[in-house]
Symmetry: C2
DNA sequence: TTGAAAGCGGTACCAT
DNA sequence: ATGGTACCGCTTTCAA
């Protein structure tokens, strides 16, 4: 009785070689005579043989699976991506996916609710993940420490992490914010508000630092009323803008923490009768395609998701190949000038 | 030498029972004495035992893995979701994920490039997928037919499909479009343009049909110049709006095929000096959160992604449990009135 | 109610 | 260059 699956044994029989040989033409882990190899390959093609990765894993094959995680949600990454404030991560995820598959890795997105640190590691091993890519905004998650302590091959994205088998990839947030700020300064703005989550380690702090550096380099004194702390969400950005307006502190430009925040800053300004860029200039961060769809189009700082994805996979490949984990990588950012910025009213 | 994994054998030894028994307390496929059961469970907890699903699958356990696919892209679903025109699908995906995990299923998103129909099915079996959920805009994909012919348990979302082991879940697109059109008619609009991909089987045709029905029910004659065909992309919507404006045909409202299209219709109108809703009313479709972020906020038709996700998983569960596949399911839609619609200028 | 043993589809070590 | 075979961790008859 013919079962559904074609097995390596069938291939071996039809090719008149041993099961061992078939295994080796697939894995190329030891030389096989060209003729034999050729014949086996033909049979494989003819039978439509497909290796059973589960069985291979069980038997001890080297895993090519990379787990992709984003701590902080209730379930897997997808749950979080649905929120507009995570649209940037979708692009990043896509870049990671593209480079991972190009490098021959399979991607695994754990679906069951994450548990404690120990359970998390066990599950990773249980699923035979060779390494893990962690995208996070939640930095003090115990799982982060668990990965580091266990020396599990890890690349952190958009957050810092370093260990013998771990490194991180982040955008040059500070430089991006610096460029954005200098752009506003060059246009003649001096009263520049900032609405962002400066408390967040990488993206928040970095952007905050860059903006502040540019301001002080230009000799502009900071008005504390212009520095607003807000979560990354649309609502928070909107509310922070309302607070800014109510404070009565004069301002001619706003540096938003992200494109999504910028769009909501603009919405709040519009709801209060202020036009962008005529009355106020607004700069975002990320360069989502969304920024070209809205009116005015968004001046923003581009994060190079493709370069980030490439760096992530390259770093992980090295770690998995036994090379020492590379130093944390900083990916350049670039200012993109569009329609939401202009010179302030004289 | 202690290996990393805790195996069922260790649990058995520590509990003083056979390996078989442990297996059965886990699978509950045969009765186990309460006392024994209790003890085994304790040991499992103490050792932090985690079953190896790969091994279980190999040995013939019933799979609880559901594959999630979206034909049409170059790689897996994620690649397509990055485009704004797919933002709706992200929400849908999230709902499916939530209901799938709640029902105890694991989700698998195939990552390697899809191949021919035969290879696709083989891979599904090779990965031990119990069933598959297909979200698609590409209807004549050979894999669709392959799934149907092989009677592989399948639920199609946002597209039609029917077989002994297959059914489909879609929004009531026609009714949604009808509601949107009646809303515009009630406001006093008579010259209503439509910009959508009416050629697409479910979402396109359905919405088109509903709109047309409402118009003819109101005795409004259709001006063919007001019916524009456009892809779902931001660019296409923008260009179609430009064509509409250039045609010189008068209109006071636009029914867009989706929220993303609506946003770009509004952008195009703005670029031509027309304001929404003062000069033109615009209605979207989907009810993305995005619609509350832009100004004006978007009047739209809500698709109930949560209900869709629930229906998908429930249908699949039935099929997997051996019940006959349910009839195709139509999920109700609802009009959401916001700021992009108003009475036409007198 | 519980055990023992035969695989599931591969890989890798040890031979030849 | 190629075979033989002992597992990998678990499920499932078949027996007791």
């Amino acid at each position: 009785m013919r079962r559904g699956r074609v097995t390596i044994a069938e291939v071996a029989e039809r090719a008149g070689v041993s099961l061992t040989t078939v295994s080796h033409v697939l894995s190329a882990r030891r030389p096989v005579a060209p003729g034999t190899r050729q014949r086996v390959l033909e049979i494989i093609d003819e039978l439509g043989y497909e290796p059973d990765s589960a069985a291979a894993g069980l038997a001890g094959a080297r895993s090519t699976t990379i787990a992709l995680d984003a701590f902080g949600g209730t379930s897997w990454a997808l749950s979080q991506l649905v929120e507009p404030e995570s649209y940037f991560y979708i692009g990043l995820l896509r870049a990671i996916e593209a480079h991972a598959t190009a490098a021959g890795y399979d991607l695994l997105m754990p679906s069951r609710p994450q548990d404690d640190a120990g359970g998390y590691l066990r599950r990773l091993r249980s699923r035979r993940a060779a390494g893990v890519v962690v995208m996070a905004r939640n930095f003090d998650d115990p799982r982060t420490r668990a990965l580091l302590e266990a020396q599990f091959p890890t690349v952190f994205v958009d957050m810092f992490g370093r260990g013998p088998k771990a490194t991180s990839v982040t955008s040059d947030n500070a430089d991006g914010a610096r460029q954005a700020t200098e752009h506003l300064l060059a246009l003649g703005h001096r009263r520049i508000a900032r609405i962002s989550k400066a408390a967040d380690p990488m993206a928040g702090q970095g952007r905050n630092t860059g903006a502040r550096a540019a301001l002080s380099a230009a000799g502009v004194l900071e008005d504390p009323r212009l520095v607003l702390e807000a979560e990354w969400t649309p609502d928070a950005a909107y509310q922070a803008t309302v607070r800014l307006l109510r404070s009565g502190a004069p301002f001619t430009a706003v540096l938003a923490g992200s494109d999504v925040m910028a769009i909501n800053v603009i919405a709040a300004l519009a709801d209060h009768g202020l036009r962008v860029p005529e009355d106020v200039s607004v700069v975002g961060f990320d360069d989502l395609q969304l920024g070209t769809m809205v009116r005015p189009t968004l001046t923003t700082v581009r994060q190079d998701t493709d370069a980030m994805g490439a760096a992530v996979i390259e770093a992980l490949r090295r770690i998995l190949d036994g090379e020492p984990a590379p130093e944390p990588i900083l990916v350049p950012t670039a200012l993109v000038v569009r329609g939401s910025t202009a010179a302030p009213r004289p």
